[in-house]
Symmetry: D2
Subunit: 139 residues, 4 copies
Amino acid sequence: MKTLRHETEVVVRFSEVDSLHIVWHGHYVRYFEDAREAFGLKYGIHYLDVQKAGYSTPIVKVQCDYKRSLKYGDTALVDATFVNSEAAKLIFAFTIRNKETKEVIATGETVQVFLDANKELCLTNPPFFSAWKKSNSIE
Amino acid sequence: MKTLRHETEVVVRFSEVDSLHIVWHGHYVRYFEDAREAFGLKYGIHYLDVQKAGYSTPIVKVQCDYKRSLKYGDTALVDATFVNSEAAKLIFAFTIRNKETKEVIATGETVQVFLDANKELCLTNPPFFSAWKKSNSIE
Amino acid sequence: MKTLRHETEVVVRFSEVDSLHIVWHGHYVRYFEDAREAFGLKYGIHYLDVQKAGYSTPIVKVQCDYKRSLKYGDTALVDATFVNSEAAKLIFAFTIRNKETKEVIATGETVQVFLDANKELCLTNPPFFSAWKKSNSIE
Amino acid sequence: MKTLRHETEVVVRFSEVDSLHIVWHGHYVRYFEDAREAFGLKYGIHYLDVQKAGYSTPIVKVQCDYKRSLKYGDTALVDATFVNSEAAKLIFAFTIRNKETKEVIATGETVQVFLDANKELCLTNPPFFSAWKKSNSIE
């Protein structure tokens, strides 16, 4: 089984740095989304692909563990790895590193579920997602 | 002719303060919106009222002039005043004061236009807006 | 032992609602911070109190579980409850409810550590925090 | 006299799109800052260069005129052009275009002043800024 992952570069913005001179913790959720979107573009499972298939994938869980901090001038490398699951869920694990020092800054996870066109929760994988997994040699 | 105005209290959030220990300038646009929404609730011209009437009111201009700064722990008073215009526009003038010192922190303006249900620009005031002006003794 | 909790009202802002017409998940981290700051003001353990004592309390963990969604026009009630711990940590549990329907929208947790004036991690509770716990009949 | 300009690519993020399915107007201020920072990195007048010289450059004015909108999936090209001035100010003019259609989405301007190490307003150009202008054949 293949592991699908994608690394995205995020340059720390001035507006993201708080009065302690580090990136405010809430912005990491956006960094995760940046990585998830870049992953989606690369592997054909972007929000717009999901939408075209008639589904939406709201977030039901976010977790972030902060190990070190990022400061203004830093660039982060955000790795998004697809985590396979038997449940009808879209799970990603994230690792944020400092591009220069390679130190791990934070790790995290997001879990998404599938809603169909009627906004009903899908209890089994929607066909487009099963097909996507198959075409990427997952399972 | 009456002047319609409303003052909203905004407590500076930790996440809004930048590494210079002042509120990052971009957040003032949100403070303006907070004041505009509170004005709308009070005078019955909230986004949801506009939407119910079948219109939307996208912003076509924002301006902000910064005189002083706000720091963490400060509370801002944001005054939104309706600016009457012959054009089919929704114009607000804003003044942000420090609640404690009463100093003027910033002034600004937003201009919105009316789009009808087909997302076409309204060249004259939509009926609901003319009625709203009349009922508030404007013009 | 007393349970310390505080409930904060957060009005959903237009800018916080995404194209799915619900509050974007990342904003909940800010709602948690709003509740944590209001709790701190009430119980004398606000960021500014911590800073005055010579410490800072960076976030080392955020978790949020989303059960339902909030839409524009909704008001959220965010409950922050202090979670006592033997470790030198500041832990809060959060519950977000819809003010009108009382439904639970999300639950979550944040964990903070103490850094002293030299930005060194405190392995035991700083004196001001022990004193705060005592004065609030915790432990 | 040379014209200094730099164009930055900004990919619209999911979290930036509002319930009208367009980028919320307040985010354009951040797009301007993205462009200003990229300009600064290219021409050696980045926030960090300014800071190293012992100054800070708070924003005293922001203006944005919105002509069209950006939606999810769009990429914006943000052009930042240095506007020379006899006053001790750092002025940029911005044009945001849709990368694909080349349509102008918005134009805007930011004005910054110089504060010295004592946070006093500089009434004349700080030496590092005069030197920077000279080395770039401005004036």
